[in-house]
């Protein structure tokens, strides 16, 4: 196995340790595994390590490397997601007020986190591409925009499915909902821009500029819509989420995070390979060459 994956695996292992092992042990009455760190900080360590570990994998996707890290990450993601969904659907109790519908939260909330993370990765890649003009950041930007768009679309669909039975409407003009929709359309526009520009240099720079402009818009849209109208439930933190809901939520968060990173890695690889042929077209085959001469 490539040595470069080791730091990523270590980070993910720390995340999994604090996210699952310590929490599960505490639930079952086994104390002392958490080194005396308060629960809130444990959750923060778990989330930070998981995100950093996943991001680390993004930086080792150079062309020529095997797709094995991405494949392993995707496999781990599917396993986590399957476990989380099983617990969320069959083991965790239904919520007191919303009943069974609330179980959609176990995919909805992690999707929201990951969609925002994917857009943030796109924003960071755009800045790095403009500063360094290194093509791999262009590839990563394209990958993360596409994955972010898919996640944002799923997020809107899940939100609508959840909103109909609880709020009585499919759609509501709430800040987070509206911001997600605006974000979805803004990034779809950038993908369209990429399709329309043939020159790879211009395509890279323009879509990076558009990504930065669109991302800066997110907080402004959020606050303007919040002034305008509001109904969405308040954001939850571990303190307001009951213990039994933690496990499926965290397992799914890890699962979707891994899947997201794996997809971005694979997608960035495709873009990078495409770009390689665009920047340096393969030599004509001999038969064609004969015709050309």
């Amino acid at each position: 196995m490539n040595k470069r994956v080791v730091p990523g695996i270590v980070l993910l292992a720390i995340g999994a340790y604090f996210g699952f092992v310590v929490t599960l042990a505490t639930f079952n009455g086994v104390a002392g595994l958490g080194f005396g760190i308060p629960t809130g900080i444990q959750a923060a360590i778990a989330a930070t390590c998981a995100v950093l570990g996943a991001l680390y994998f993004l930086t080792i996707d150079d062309v020529g490397d095997s797709t094995a890290p991405a494949a392993w990450l995707a496999g781990a993601g599917v396993v986590c997601f399957a476990i989380g969904s099983y617990i969320g659907l069959f083991v965790a109790p239904p919520e007191q007020y919303m009943g069974e519908v609330q179980r959609i939260m176990y995919v909805h909330v992690p999707s929201a986190w990951c969609a925002l993370l994917a857009m943030t990765i796109a924003f960071a890649s755009a800045i790095l591409f403009l500063l360094r003009t290194d093509w791999k950041w262009d590839a990563r930007m394209e990958g993360s925009i596409e994955v972010g768009v898919v996640l944002a679309f799923l997020l809107c669909c899940q939100g609508a499915i959840w909103a109909k039975p609880t709020w009585g409407v499919w759609w509501d003009w709430d800040p987070r909902l509206t911001t997600t929709a605006v974000l979805l359309f803004a990034f779809l526009g950038i993908l369209a821009l990429r399709r329309f520009v043939d020159d790879p240099v211009k395509r890279g720079i323009w879509s990076a500029v558009a990504t930065i402009i669109a991302y800066v818009d997110v907080p402004i849209v959020y606050f303007s819509v919040r002034w305008w109208n509001s109904l969405h439930q308040q954001q939850s933190n571990p303190g307001t989420v009951s213990r039994q809901f933690w496990l499926p939520l965290r397992a799914n968060a890890f699962g979707i995070l891994f899947l997201m990173v794996a997809f971005i890695m694979l997608r960035a690889r495709i873009s990078a390979l495409r770009l390689k042929t665009e920047l340096a077209p393969p030599p004509l085959a001999e038969a064609q060459l004969g015709e050309a001469v």
Binding site: F185, I205, I212, I213, I220, S224
Partner: protein, 218 residues
């Protein structure tokens, strides 16, 4: 900077027929909106601010998409880039000229709104402020995107696709502020919306100027 601005205004003056056409387009859009609601005077009056800004937004894409037309002909932009000045000067000249044109458009559409929707006001000063700030929010990112889309196929489709999601906060604040001016503002809510518009303008006028150099570089 002065010269860049002078060039833009000269260009606009020579193509003033286009501005007239865009104003007529916006006015006819306002006329059509009233058919969507039906002849309900009260409803029309209530939604008048929204209609006016949507009309303005739709017609602004026409002026913005055309704004780099002269620069694209005979690759004039490359000649401009060779001049010993920052590309930012070109951007701000173009953005200011577009802004001026959109303010004219807004001032032209307002009387149409008064006549069609019976939504007038005597507070013209504040209304002008809102129109100026709102159109500034359209002009800054619009000019930047126009510079990109002017160079690609199907620019008429791509510009709105990129611009519309982006200017949601500016549109929202402009509609809300105009509506408060026209329909009355018992809760004193106008100031926060104007502040939001001003913040949006400040962010995008600086950010887009910063990024424009990269967009036009060869």
């Amino acid at each position: 900077m002065i010269h860049a601005l002078r060039k833009e205004f000269l260009l606009q003056w020579r193509t003033r027929a286009q501005l007239m056409a865009v104003i007529v387009f916006g006015a006819s859009a306002l006329l059509l909106f009233s058919f969507a609601v039906g002849p309900n005077a009260q409803m029309l009056r209530q939604f008048s601010a929204g209609f006016m800004w949507l009309g303005l937004l739709l017609s602004s894409t026409l002026t913005l998409a055309e704004s780099f037309h002269a620069e694209m002909e005979n690759r004039a932009l490359e000649g401009l880039m060779l001049l010993p000045m920052s590309p930012r000067v070109i951007y701000y000249g173009k953005a200011l000229a577009n802004w001026f044109q959109l303010v004219l458009l807004g001032c032209a559409l307002f009387p149409v709104m008064v006549v069609l929707y019976d939504a007038g006001t005597t507070d013209l000063l504040r209304l002008f402020l809102v129109i100026a700030l709102g159109t500034a929010g359209l002009s800054a990112p619009g000019t930047l995107y126009a510079a990109m889309t002017a160079q690609v196929r199907s620019k008429q489709t791509l510009l709105p696709l990129l611009l519309f999601p982006l200017i949601v906060p500016a549109l929202l604040a402009s509609v809300k502020a105009t509506s408060l001016i026209v329909l009355g503002d018992p809760m004193q809510q106008l100031a926060p919306w104007i502040r939001l518009l001003a913040a949006f303008d400040a962010i995008y006028w600086s950010l887009c100027g910063l990024l424009f150099g990269r967009v036009v570089e060869e």
